[in-house]
């Protein structure tokens, strides 16, 4: 063998390289694990259950240290953990994140919680809290309240069965004029055929309760009225309404010192929202999202 041949070494290197490549290409896939690797207590479809989790779960379920638990107790815990793992694996096979809203919600919450966890370590200063309060002071208002009469002129009812909507509106407009001119409520009700709608009970109620009772349409008008004010006629499903405000306590912005606990919690919630949104922005920047023709987001 002539070691001095100039092509000998390159040829040998090529042969070795090809042999290695061949082994790599045609070698069978790694065999599944036949034994539980150290650090795990079980393998379920090749997915390991941590020994540490097993110890923790046993201690939680038995309220004793792991060393004090009996073999029967450990077996029970292990069986439950394997069952749970099987069901989790089944959920993935069934693609539950794709089809089940609760699973999707849990996954979203878990990711957001993980992203937001570090941000909550930040302790804001008093100045930062106050600045946040000033910026969002409309969120820190005490509840308003009101006491009002809600009169209705039914259209097509037994007392006004033959009255057209146009006529009802004309009557209501006249009633409003008389009320604003000082006529008594009783007189106007008797004269024009208005009745109490029954939605309000002549007591002072918090804004949200008034909104609930009157409905959005009437509440929208009531929320703007001042003490003693009479509304314009408001057509609704059951007839023509007139609102007469007796007393209206408007919502007031609460002083910072009274709401600083809420401000603190809101500040942290806002910080969490911000960081979860940043996470979403990052995910979007790395994702390929295609929209069907005609769709937009």
């Amino acid at each position: 063998m002539n070691l001095r041949h100039p092509l000998l070494l390159p040829v040998a290197a090529i042969i070795v390289g090809l042999a290695l490549a061949g082994v790599g290409l045609f070698r069978a896939a790694p065999l599944p694990l036949a034994a539980v690797p150290p650090g795990y207590v079980a393998l379920v479809n090749q997915k390991g259950l941590l020994m540490s989790d097993f110890i923790a779960q046993t201690q939680v379920e038995t309220s004793r240290s792991f060393a004090e638990s009996t073999p029967a107790e450990r077996s029970k815990v292990l069986r439950e953990m394997i069952d749970e793992e099987l069901l989790v694996q089944r959920a993935l096979v069934l693609d539950l994140p794709e089809t089940t809203n609760e699973v999707r919600g849990s996954l979203v919450s878990a990711v957001n919680a993980q992203v937001a966890a570090p941000i909550l370590a930040y302790v804001p200063s008093d100045a930062e809290l106050r600045a946040y309060y000033e910026k969002y002071r409309q969120n820190y208002t005490g509840p308003g309240s009101m006491n009002l009469h809600d009169l209705v002129l039914h259209i097509g009812g037994f007392e006004n069965a033959d009255q057209s909507p146009t006529q009802a509106l004309a009557d209501a407009t006249e009633a409003v004029y008389q009320l604003r001119s000082g006529a008594s409520l009783t007189y106007v009700m008797e004269h024009f055929g208005f009745v109490n709608s029954g939605r309000m009970d002549d007591t002072e109620q918090l804004d949200f309760a008034v909104k609930l009772h009157l409905g959005d349409k009437l509440y929208k008008t009531a929320a703007q009225m001042r003490d003693g004010e009479v509304s314009d006629p408001i057509p609704d499903t059951d007839g023509m309404h007139i609102l007469v405000m007796v007393r209206h306590e408007f919502p007031k912005v609460v002083d910072f010192s009274a709401v600083r606990d809420r401000v603190y919690l809101d500040f942290r919630a806002a910080a969490s929202s911000r960081v979860t949104q940043e996470n979403l922005n990052l995910l979007r920047s790395q994702a390929q999202v295609l929209l069907a023709p005609g769709q937009s987001e």
């Binding site: 690797p37 650090g39 966890a117 909550l120 600083r260």
Partner: protein
């Protein structure tokens, strides 16, 4: 002088040329070259065998380290030595930034001293330390330590500024340091009253390792124990984070780190506090 100089330079060049020729002759001598190749081959083979042996031994030790229950690891000096050696570079890379290169913690970051025998969570067993490394504290995973956080009593308006200062005086009293009697008495009333500190720290102020509520009588502080730091803790609260390392580090690495921290905090002579004791 000039001639002598030229002569000396000529001698050096001559000697160099002669030596070079000699080496070339030796290398080009086929017999000698075969011997050199053989010797190199033997050296390489010995190196490969030694490396393989060391690798196999490491694998075996890693397997033993993980296969044993945590308490059994703590009782095996050979495993502890192996784990400490494995853990030191890991600690330097992943943990030292917060807990310090000397493991004595960082009050600015609220990272506890790992060399003492005071534990926020659990009782300092190797198992408890490993759980904390696996899942962290307030790390946003369900197995993490997240049972409670130190409320921001001042920021949230539960306590006024002067009330916070009174509670600080009471904590100074609890931890056996000089305090102002009148303010400490007020602080004690607040501790058991509106602030309800005993709910987490206990009526005896000895803390609760389930909640991660520190023992206020030991005078050991993760966030600093001077009056100013205590004020900051009570006024602004604390929500310290430790990452969950599961998924980032292997189980073997986590076990090694837990063993390292255990060894440092449980030295054979019982004198916790010296990281050198684990070496």
């Amino acid at each position: 002088m000039r001639c002598r100089g030229v002569k000396r330079a000529g001698s050096v060049a001559e000697a160099y040329t002669n030596a070079k020729v000699g080496v070339v002759q030796l290398v080009t001598d086929g017999h000698y070259r075969a011997k050199v190749v053989l010797a190199l081959g033997v050296v390489v083979a010995i190196g490969v065998v030694a490396l393989a042996r060391a690798h196999l031994r490491t694998d075996r030790m890693q397997e033993r380290l993980l296969a044993a229950l945590p308490d059994a690891v703590a009782a095996d000096p050979a495993l502890v030595r192996f784990a400490v050696a494995e853990a030191k570079p890991l600690y330097a890379r992943h943990c030292a930034a917060c807990h310090g290169a000397d493991l004595h913690g960082n009050a600015q970051l609220g990272a506890p001293d790992l060399t003492d025998d005071v534990w926020l969570y659990g009782d300092g067993s190797l198992y408890d330390i490993e759980r904390t490394i696996l899942y962290g504290a307030r790390a946003g995973v369900s197995s993490t330590h997240d049972e409670a956080e130190m409320p921001a009593f001042g920021l949230r308006g539960v306590l006024s500024d002067s009330q916070v200062r009174s509670v600080v005086q009471y904590v100074l009293q609890l931890s056996g340091r000089p305090y102002q009697v009148e303010a400490a008495n007020d602080g004690r009333a607040l501790y058991f009253g509106v602030a309800n500190c005993g709910d987490c720290h206990g009526p005896d102020a000895r803390g609760n390792n389930d909640y991660g509520a520190p023992d206020l009588t030991r005078n050991v502080w993760s966030n600093g124990g001077d009056p100013q730091s205590l004020y900051a803790s009570i006024y602004g609260g604390r929500h310290r984070i430790m990452p969950a390392w599961r998924g980032t580090l292997s189980l073997e690495q986590i076990r090694a780190l837990a063993t390292y921290v255990y060894a440092v905090s449980h030295p054979p002579d019982g004198q916790a506090g010296t990281p050198g004791g684990a070496t």
